[in-house]
């Protein structure tokens, strides 16, 4: 397997990562004959990472769905025990249309506040290291110096933070911090301190 380069990682961040929740939702509604969605998603990324070039890909979402479909078909064909119907059904899979749903558009708009909440949810030391590295853009060495800990510790904190965000950004279906685009009515007796309404939220009035 060819390892992803930094350049390919940036491409994936823009063209694959935002579509992973939709891909998972799509896969989870299909008969996959015992395959795990997680496995299919990981193999899909592996194929996207190993492509010699991505210049020809006009629509990352469609391409990602097609790659995932090929992973499913390949696995089904390889397993001899799979029912013929499952294979036929999988071959008939039509990736959904390209039109972004209001949900995905809104989710993109508020991704930053989602990232903020995810960082805030990390354990205290990890949160501090991750914020200094990714929000303040200090090097890991500089973060270690400021926090008075070893560079190895900072590396572990950053890795942990990436792990948490990997999990959260891929699974939009149950993600907590997606956007909305219209008003929230509240009961008058509601404790305002429990509502942290994002003032950047766009309103339609």
């Amino acid at each position: 397997m060819t390892l992803a380069t930094q350049q390919r990682a940036i491409w994936l961040a823009r063209n694959a990562l935002p579509h992973e929740p939709a891909l998972r939702a799509w896969l989870s509604r299909r008969p996959l004959a015992g395959l795990e969605v997680d496995d299919i998603v990981q193999e899909t990324y592996a194929i996207l990472a190993a492509l010699p070039s991505v210049d020809h890909i006009l629509n990352g979402r469609t391409y990602m769905f097609e790659v995932a479909k090929s992973v499913v078909l390949r696995s089904l064909r390889r397993s001899r025990i799979v029912a013929f119907e499952a294979l036929a059904e999988a071959e008939a899979l039509e990736p959904p249309s390209d039109a972004p749903s209001p949900e995905t558009v809104a989710a993109d708009r508020q991704e930053l506040s989602r990232i903020a909440a995810l960082i805030a949810g990390l354990p205290a030391k990890c949160r501090e290291a991750f914020t200094l590295r990714k929000v303040h853009d200090l090097s890991q060495r500089e973060v270690a110096r400021r926090m008075g800990v070893s560079e190895n510790t900072v590396e572990k904190h950053v890795g942990k933070g990436i792990g948490v965000l990997m999990n959260a950004l891929g699974r939009g279906g149950n993600a907590r911090f997606q956007a909305s685009r219209n008003r929230t009515d509240r009961d008058p007796d509601q404790d305002q301190s429990e509502v942290d309404h994002d003032p950047r939220e766009q309103r339609r009035h």
Binding site: L12, T44, A46, P102, V135, G173, A175
Partner: protein, 323 residues
């Protein structure tokens, strides 16, 4: 897929990949590390994929710099909620977790009402990890406690993606009708005539009427229409029909076998621009297709074209007549 002795879980692979991304984030890898990384990734394509995603997530975080130097994550509401959860967990007091408040930052307080105006769609995250997508002109109210997650559907239609929590069933109350789930995905729609429709996309839910009613189990790709009286009879619907019934999530209306009269009622849910049909024989004509919910005029024109009718635009809508 390979049948090795013990299959590494996807979660373990992700964690290992994230650790590698943390090392790469530190600076260029030593030759030794680079070789170790390559050897690790070569053993399973899933590892190479997870590593690619971990790097992508790390790259995506270039956006986090946009939070600015003022960003104070420790005083963020999500931090408080997470710290409280950890505190409870370490104290062995997880059973008391019902005191946990809102997750914050755009997440909805569960005491609050959430509504959509006509023509709007909104996805609302809930603190337990579930999410509700509200269709046009819909109102819900959520009340969660340690024993139950209750959402009242006050009007309209909503899709519920329910996070698994066997200890706390998720119950939707729509008038007299109750729908209970543990972890699943389903829609509930209240109709003007008092009927309530339930469609299950994934998992299993139980539906009953009144406080004491006998629950009927509804499996994935099944629907039930609950009238004010009479038996509850689940009917199977295909996955294509389920997708059609949820076309509103994309801002679309799917008219599969509906008459123009029914289509006009459907569009009226989304827009104040009315489709007016005076002639009953026109109202009975059928039209099939996927249409933008926010464009009744476009629909009327398409219907006129394909059925040989006349569409006349008026101030408050569009009138369909025989040409």
């Amino acid at each position: 897929m390979k049948l090795t002795t013990i299959r590494e879980s996807s979660a373990d692979i992700d964690a290992a990949a994230a650790a590698w991304a943390g090392r790469v984030d530190r600076g260029p890898l030593s030759d030794q590390d680079q070789a170790a990384l390559e050897a690790w990734a070569a053993q399973d394509p899933r590892r190479a994929g997870a590593y690619a995603k971990a790097l992508a997530v790390s790259a995506r975080l270039d956006r986090a710099a946009g939070l600015g130097a003022d960003f104070a994550p420790a005083s963020h509401p999500a931090a408080k909620a997470a710290d409280r959860r950890r505190l409870l967990a370490t104290g062995g007091l997880l059973a008391a977790a019902s005191v946990v408040g809102a997750v914050g930052y755009g997440a909805l307080s569960l005491k609050g009402r959430v509504t959509t105006a006509k023509g709007d769609i909104r996805r609302a995250p809930l603190q337990d990890g579930s999410a509700v997508t509200l269709n046009t002109d819909t109102a819900i109210r959520a009340a969660f406690d340690g024993k139950m997650r209750r959402v009242d559907l006050l009007r309209g239609e909503a899709l519920f993606d329910v996070a698994k929590d066997p200890a706390r069933p998720f119950v939707v109350v729509a008038g007299d009708v109750r729908v209970r789930a543990v972890g699943t995905s389903f829609t509930v729609r209240t109709h003007a005539d008092g009927q309530v429709g339930v469609i299950v996309r994934e998992g299993v839910v139980e539906v009953w009427r009144g406080a004491e009613g006998k629950p009927v189990r509804l499996a994935a790709e099944h629907a039930v229409q609950v009238a004010t009286a009479g038996a509850l009879t689940p009917t199977p619907v295909g996955s294509a029909a389920v997708d059609r019934a949820m076309a509103w999530r994309q801002g679309q209306i799917d008219l599969d076998g509906l008459t123009l009269g029914q289509a006009a009622d459907e569009f009226a849910r989304y827009s104040d621009r009315r489709i007016v049909i005076d002639d009953p024989s026109v109202a009975r004509l059928k039209m099939t297709g996927l249409f933008s919910a926010s464009d009744p005029d476009g629909f009327a024109k398409a219907a006129a074209l394909s059925l040989g009718l006349q569409a006349t635009t008026q101030a408050d809508g569009v009138r369909l007549t025989r040409g």
